[in-house]
């Protein structure tokens, strides 16, 4: 999403186009998760007791830890974007680097959680709650990985001196995307871990 097109000589138009493009893309993403949230709503209304009893099997401590990790990563991304607005490319790279690291921490914790659940015999096919749990966190995890890729790409571009206070479209776009990925998790945490 982050590439300004070659055809546009006016950088202001290119920036606005890129921004609108990303918001449109986020609309797509919302609907992508929207289907799963709809399924969640339907099945939770249908089986309230199952959701109540099954969600207790999740590890709330690790879930909360991951929430802290992701919120912190949102902060570092915002600081990175702020840095390039002030023209500080090195600072941007450092902040985005920390963000990628936090993303990796998130994935590691998720990996530990999933392993633990597999250990207890909880699989995607176990019941409808765990189908939802694994599909939703799995799809979110894929987005975290994609987001880390995008941020890494931006860091590499920045190393080559591509960004400055006046041209920073890909940075803003990547930041916006990462915030979205965080936001999804903010919904997933209460829906999956904090029922009842």
């Amino acid at each position: 999403m982050s590439d300004p097109s070659a055809g546009h000589t006016d950088p202001r138009v290119a920036f606005e186009a890129a921004k609108l493009g990303l918001w449109t893309f986020l609309a797509t993403e919302v609907l992508l998760f929207g289907a799963l949230f709809t399924a969640y709503t339907i099945f939770r209304v249908k089986y309230p007791d199952l959701f109540q009893s099954e969600h207790l099997k999740l590890n709330r401590v690790l879930g909360t830890l991951n929430t802290v990790v992701l919120i912190t990563s949102s902060l570092t991304v915002a600081l990175g974007v702020d840095a390039i607005r002030r023209g500080k490319a090195r600072l941007l790279e450092r902040y985005f680097g920390v963000t990628v690291l936090l993303g990796a921490v998130f994935l590691c914790v998720k990996y530990i959680e999933w392993t633990e659940e597999f250990h207890h015999g909880l699989y995607p096919g176990t019941n409808i709650f765990f189908s939802l749990y694994f599909m939703m966190t799995g799809l979110h995890g894929i987005h975290v990985i994609l987001g880390m890729g995008v941020l890494t790409y931006v860091i590499l571009l920045s190393r080559r001196g591509r960004f400055s206070g006046s041209y920073r479209t890909p940075v803003e776009i990547a930041g916006l995307y990462w915030h979205f990925v965080d936001l999804v998790w903010i919904y997933l945490l209460p829906l999956l871990y904090l029922i009842g």
């Binding site: 097109s5 992508l32 699989y123 599909m135």
Partner: protein
Amino acid sequence: MAEESGGGKGYLAERGWRSWAYTMDHKRIGVMYLYTTIAFFFIGGVFALLLRLELLSPQAKYFGNHTYNVFFTLHGAMMIFLFIIPAIPSGLGNFFIPLHIGARDVAFPRINLASYWVFVAGFLVVIGSLVSPMDTGWTFYTPYSAKTGAAVATLSFGIFLIGMSSILTGLNFIVTIHKLRAPGMTWHRLPLFIWGMYATSIIQVVATPVVGVTFLLLAMERLLGVAFFDPAKGGDPVLFQHFFWFYSHPVVYVMILPAMGIISEVIPVFSRKPIFGYKAIAYSSLAIAFLGFLVWGHHMFTSAMSPLANTIFSFMTFFVAVPTAVKVFNWIATLYKGSITFESPMLYALTFIFLFAVGGLTGPFLGALATDVQLHDTYFVVAHFHYTMMGGTVMGFFAGLHYWFPKMTGKMLNERIARVAWALVFIGFNVTFFTMFIAGVRGMPRRYAEYLPRFHVENVISTVGSAILAVGIVVMFWNFIQGLRKGLPAPGNPWRALSLEWQTPSLPITENFLEIPVVTDWPYGYGKPKGPDA
């Protein structure tokens, strides 16, 4: 304005496969989409002819039931996902949106190219799934699709990729139309094709991800045993139908809205009259896109939804007919007292109105609860669908191909052969599909290789019609090939049309315009009767 005649190489100046594979020119990408989708149109068409051949006799004669199931699945899936959804938006839309709005390219040329290659990856995966071909019908309904031995997961993945390509294209067009209009090109000066494409793009962006997730869940059900659609684990097969139609109903408007846009372009040019009710046509596109999201349940009246839900969906379905009829009436009002000439694009445009009216008016029979229970899964549905989609969208596509052929290729078509082809298509189409209405009302169910002998006559007529239709389409494309090879060079503006794409030479240059035009008026200011020099 039309004096720059053809002969120049324009956007086709560069040669070699690299100039195509790596191109970021929206025109070349559009052309690649056109070639690809038309190829699938022919493959899907061959499957259709095989189905009609099998139905020549009441017993399965030429191949067995399973093969029949595979053929109608492939016919449906290829025509829908590989031809009719991408053909007009990604093909003609790519080529003409920037030309229409006075831009040099789409907003994100690289994403545009990526969308084409993602599409290619998608159809390669779809072809890969043929090792164990699908037999579920193009709707993939669970629980059968979760259990059949066919390569459902592979095909799902292929369609997921094609959906991604569709989203990227839609996203690109939305941003292009918002941000790259030429100076003076206000929203109410946009050609109506652009309004249609804009509404289409919104549906693509909003609806496609839902079917993507649905196919993902279906694949996961097969691979990991997730429980969404499995009643044994508390899942719900009807949920699959809801998810599927939440996409697949709006997507029929992805198919029809761009075609309606083409009709809105062609009708005023060949009636030499300003389009009637510009704003009504423009906003009805958006209304159709919006209402189209609220009617998916009418595919499921027999799937045991609650009577209340059925009633609401039925009501909304009648509602969506309103903006559709608004368009048809406005086209007819445009024709009224116009100086109509019957060049091939106009013939197809008028055919669109006629066939789409039949398709549209048979819709309420299926949208009304009482009659739908009777007609559900009969040939009436098949006929209705083909009248709207082939009689509508494909005729609109043909109108667009004939209308824009000079601009895209720099060559003129043989008009006489084009008209012969049109006549064959028109006759063949009606003979094929009108009889299906009758067979359907008389109770013939769809999707069986065999049928009761009392439907024999209808089926023989229908098969004969399909042969005429096929000949017509072959003649049409033979004419295209002849036009490409030895057509006369096209002038810049052979139809004396006013929209911006005709103000460029045929072929347009890679940058579309030497200088970005400044727009001072809408593109429908036709008034003078057509002169003898046309």
